[in-house]
Symmetry: C2
Subunit: 699 residues, 2 copies
């Protein structure tokens, strides 16, 4: 993982040289902070001033949805400029600085594939935003918002001409509210974040082994006994759906079945394939309980339940999960075995396919289109269903060839703690999908970032979703050739701060959590360490756990605070790569030296904090490693400066120290190990090398 | 102002030497972070562990209010320890680590003067919290919460024995939601902050020249025409009142009359004393419109209106404002003049007293006790009314002598940007009140911090209220002899971070606003400047404005971001005072030198940001001043180190530079001017002096 990291950094630097620069604002010479990057952009000359009297005119009256979108836009513009509710206005288009128009209103219930394109024209004297639909206006308003910047003459939007449309019609974020529960305010602020980067689907994972999160009036024991009191009322759900709708976001509910369903069985044990009683699962993993697909009562229940949910969630799509049924309860149940024999079902996959056929008919009866994970794909299901691929691009391509529509989520799992660059390079048309025919490609609807919730709480979920999801959003919206990593990172850093205005806590909770770890206000030394570590990647956290993790376990360790991707390690790697490859700018060595000195001296200062906090004791070895890296790096720099080659035994000793420090500690990785290794190698006259890519790097 | 500041710092250091240290935790040797400091505290040995299985038992069952208080407490404990909803529980008292009991439930509607005392006993094996009332338990739970800290063995509360009771029964915060509007979430998070420091009254200023903020069903044009759409619905108000009630906080509404009432007249011009039409006032200041006290229709209106509001707001007290009637509309209205002659009313004060007598009868008719500002005090009103003193402790004492109950707000005006130390030293029993008899002292109910809202928005209001209000809360709760400024500041810094957990934004919005000012993520140099400036004090901001300020003016300048009190300047002053008085610790000079060097070098680095942002241009001279101070201070240190006395002409030149920099720029004060002056004086062999205290320092 660390190695792929370094390769990316080198790639990044090469890209920065090879690729043309992105457009920059004339007034401030700052690059435009647009994300996703638009399909086509031409910069003009000058800028449109945005002062307190700024106003928007709506050319297509009577579209309440458009009116609401403009009023949300003005609120957002106030947040980003620090203006007040009495500033800005909606006025007569003849007098407005920005005139918006939609040729047609969007559908009353937002549909897959509605036109989201738009055109923006900004000049010195005014701006227009035109789109075929209200949805397109919404996307364009986000672009306009991102264009507004402070200049020497006040807030302004630069003169530009933009034509923009999404590459894929389905650009989603999945939030798992079941393994941990996220209150409505958490969901709302993430919807704001999604809208800012033009995502259009919240896929809401609402039931699991560990919790059933929706109020059902028909089957109240689902939430009464299956949620620990942590569920959404129907009023709250309607509120969130409306909030999303106002931002051009569909909400697709997922009720995972027949597996991942223990919480249903606490109140309704007869649904299960094994004998009860059941209790809410506290562990993580894959468990045996599964619905009984052989009883008619199961389908009667689901018919009523899905009917209720179909009325509550207006979206066309209804996600039935369908993943990871281990079949053990089915194997152990003689009645189920008998049923399989009687119906010629050869194995559990056949039995699940039978279940899915029945389920699909129920979903269709209630007017919905069924969606599910990879496992539901069987040729006996109608071609209308949608397959969400978590197993890889190949299964997505297979589905498309068989005539099924699909979404890519493999490669977009946020819980695996991969760097944004890695997600950014995953494309729904890569690998297996590259050779699809045009008609088959049409069936690839897009993708979804997935926030599985074993290791996230309301306090740190935003920091796992943002800003990395912005890179995925760009992959799914922007043209295929938008691949410049340096530009992506620069703009992502900007968007990360931009999102703070919506109350997202990915930045603001960092210090709060560090202060709690330290039991002190003075966390500068702890921050120095936290800034260069990352949580272990892939599923290593489960593998490295010393006691079995459960949903009762507090998420208040440094691994829960550290960002999935260390910006400081990224910068340090870039500096070192430039330095060892002699593509050095003035000041590079001094910057490297300053960072190394800070790390070398940090352990001594951090130690008193560590000693006072049980939560920090586990990070003591990491802190020592960081100090050692500082010293080793500085020694390497001294050798390089002196022109004297570092002695072989010193080099070997340092490299073995680095190798040792590559190993996770406290479920964290010290992300400066790799560049320090490069410095050591360079000081010994060797060509710096990367380690082989670890097995889980492709996740 | 700067000078009183330095005196305080010296006082602070002296106090730290003279006063006994406050109790510290045995496990971590950190001082206990309790605020307000309790009446009596004895530390024991060892600590009570707080792990995921921590539970609370309630000995007095059937008290729903107590049950709710404990459940809020557990939520708060989860926030502060990073634990999850499934951690902690309410259990059988026989099995619980913390057992709480209230001898009596609190009153269904919280009343002034209910017993808020409590006793806490924490040992190695368990803890008890006993109180005469549920309210006392609530206060004790906040103390318990503040005792929990991270230790080498996990989260724990130290063994202590606490007996605690408030000094005053009315400890309030006034929020003006009228000059600017604050949405419900802003009010709620501030209620959390109030509860954390044991305040018990939110005085809500709900009508003004600039806005009428409450839905009235009887007179809908009040909010429809008088609020710009920015008002609280009755449902929202009930929600907030319940939220406050659950935290032991009363809500006293204020509808200011007969002045400060332009917004009423937009919809109901007949209420006014001058001819309409009226529009919502956009400027700040004192304006002419006032209700017509001579018409019966005015009292009919108020009878119906107060009846509606009395039903909506359950508290016993009803605040009628009554301040700052300039009488111009009365003077100009012949009918009113005729009425005054006919009724023997000699002047406008007599007319307002007539109005207040009528008003008091209406308020009493609806079962409420009238409260008002200083101006309503006239011997012809019944002794039941409560006087809120904004003019000074003398008027409070006068009221008490005349048999009226009163509250102190003079000295607690948060909008005047005074340091916490200054508020902390204001006591309701100081000055005029010191000689009151015991019976008269009983009439002094307490005080209220006041957040007037000319210069605050939802974005920065928390930073004006917190953490300084914690010092006022301590003054009103803790024993009279709790006066150690060093201890207060140390604990206030701790509480400031503590409050972050409730979503208060006084810390978290700082960087967000700086980034917007800079139009950049990289704000370290801007932060260096922002950290050592403070907004001008008293009413200087109005006085220094170059264009007439209005409610449409964005609050997005550095003066709106800078904290009312610079912690860095406070620390620097303390270092310099120690240094020049030779009470020097190892490292003091090095610390001073490092800070001066950072400031000296800052202007050059900040300049490029300033040049790109119209909002920053006004701070360029401040940035230059800070650099000059850095250079001057460093030169002074060099003279002191060399033993050579600084030359007279250098000294005079530097002092005149400092004098010049004392003047506000961009409505900001550079708070390191005074200590730098001391360094210069010391380097020339002079005794460092303070400037005379400026006129507005006592505000």
């Amino acid at each position: 993982m660390r190695t792929i990291w370094s390769l990316l950094i080198i790639g990044l630097l090469l890209n920065a040289i090879q690729m043309p620069c992105f457009a920059a604002s004339e007034e401030t010479s700052r690059p435009l902070r647009l994300m996703p990057w638009p399909t086509s952009l031409k910069t003009g000359s000058g800028q449109l001033a945005i002062d307190t009297s700024f106003s928007v005119g709506i050319k297509t009256p009577g579209d309440a949805h458009l009116q609401k979108a403009v009023s949300i836009f003005l609120d957002d513009l106030r947040r980003h400029t620090g203006m007040l509710p009495l500033d800005f206005a909606i006025t007569d288009p003849a007098k407005a600085q920005l005139v918006v128009s939609a040729e047609h209103p969007s559908k009353p219930v937002q549909e897959l594939g509605e036109d989201e394109s738009y055109m923006i024209e900004i000049t010195l004297s005014g701006a227009t935003l035109n789109a075929p639909t209200t949805l397109g206006v919404m996307r364009g308003l986000q672009t306009f918002l991102q264009l507004v910047e402070i200049t020497p003459k006040g807030f302004a939007a630069p003169a530009v001409s933009i034509q923009d449309r999404p590459r894929f019609p389905w650009r989603g974020l999945m939030i798992d509210s079941s393994r941990h529960f996220f209150p409505v305010n958490v969901i709302k602020r993430n919807l704001d974040g999604m809208a800012a980067v033009k995502m259009n689907v919240l896929h809401w994972h609402l039931s699991e082994y560990q919790g059933f999160r929706v109020e059902s009036r028909r089957f109240p024991k689902l939430y009464e006994m299956g949620s620990d009191g942590l569920y959404y009322t129907q009023d709250q759900l309607r509120e969130v759906i409306g909030y999303a709708r106002d931002r051009g976001i569909r909400i697709v509910p997922e009720f995972d079945m027949p597996g991942h369903s223990t919480s249903w069985f606490v109140g309704y044990p007869d649904l299960a394939s094994g004998p009860g009683p059941y209790s809410i699962e506290r562990r993580w993993g894959i468990f045996d309980p599964a619905m009984d697909p052989t009883r008619e009562s199961t389908y009667k229940f689901l018919d009523v339940f899905i009917g209720e949910m179909a009325a509550l969630f207006p979206d066309q799509f209804f996600h039935v999960g369908g993943d990871e049924v281990n079949g053990k309860q089915w194997d152990a149940n003689p009645k189920i075995q008998e049923f399989m024999r009687a119906h010629g079902l050869k194995n559990n996959a056949d039995l699940q396919a039978y279940f899915n056929q029945r389920l699909q008919k129920i979903v269709a009866k209630h007017g919905k289109t069924m969606e599910g994970w990879d496992e539901i794909l069987r040729p006996d299901l109608p071609k209308s269903i949608v397959i969400q691929s978590w197993r890889g691009p190949q299964s997505l391509a297979d589905a498309a060839r068989q005539g099924y529509r699909g979404l890519l989520s493999s490669g977009y799992y946020l819980d695996l703690m991969s760097p944004a660059s890695q997600h950014y390079q995953v494309d729904p048309f890569a690998d297996g999908a590259a050779n699809l025919s045009d008609a088959e490609k049409q069936r690839v609807l897009g993708g979804e970032a997935c926030m599985w919730a074993e290791w996230v709480s309301p306090e740190n979920i935003d920091s796992r979703i943002w800003p990395r999801t912005a890179a995925i959003a760009e992959r799914l919206w922007s043209p295929l050739n938008t691949t410049d990593l340096a530009s992506m990172y620069e703009r992502m850093d900007g968007i990360s701060d931009w999102l703070d205005a919506y109350g997202l806590t990915h930045n603001t909770n960092y210090d709060l959590m560090l202060k709690r770890l330290a039991g002190s206000d003075n966390v500068s030394t702890l921050r120095t360490l936290a800034n260069v570590v990352e949580p272990v990647k892939g599923y290593s956290r489960e593998a490295l756990a010393t006691t079995e993790p459960t949903s009762l376990m507090p998420l208040n360790r440094l691994v829960d605070v550290a960002h999935p991707e260390s910006a400081e390690a990224r910068r340090f790697s870039a500096l070192v790569n430039a330095f060892v490859s002699a593509r050095i700018k003035p000041g590079t060595e001094a910057q490297i030296r300053a960072m190394l000195m800070k790390w070398r001296d940090n352990d001594g200062k951090l130690r008193p904090l560590i000693e006072k906090s049980s939560l920090l004791q586990e990070v003591a070895p990491l802190s020592q490693d960081l100090s050692s890296f500082g010293s080793a790096g500085l020694q390497a720099l001294d050798y390089l400066a002196s022109g004297e080659k570092a002695p072989e035994d010193w080099k070997n000793q340092q490299l073995s120290l680095v190798q040792q420090a590559f190993r996770p500690k406290a479920q964290l990785l010290l992300m400066v190990a790799d560049p320090v290794q490069k410095l050591i190698q360079a000081s010994a006259g060797e060509t710096p090398t990367d380690l082989p890519i670890p097995k889980n790097a492709a996740q």
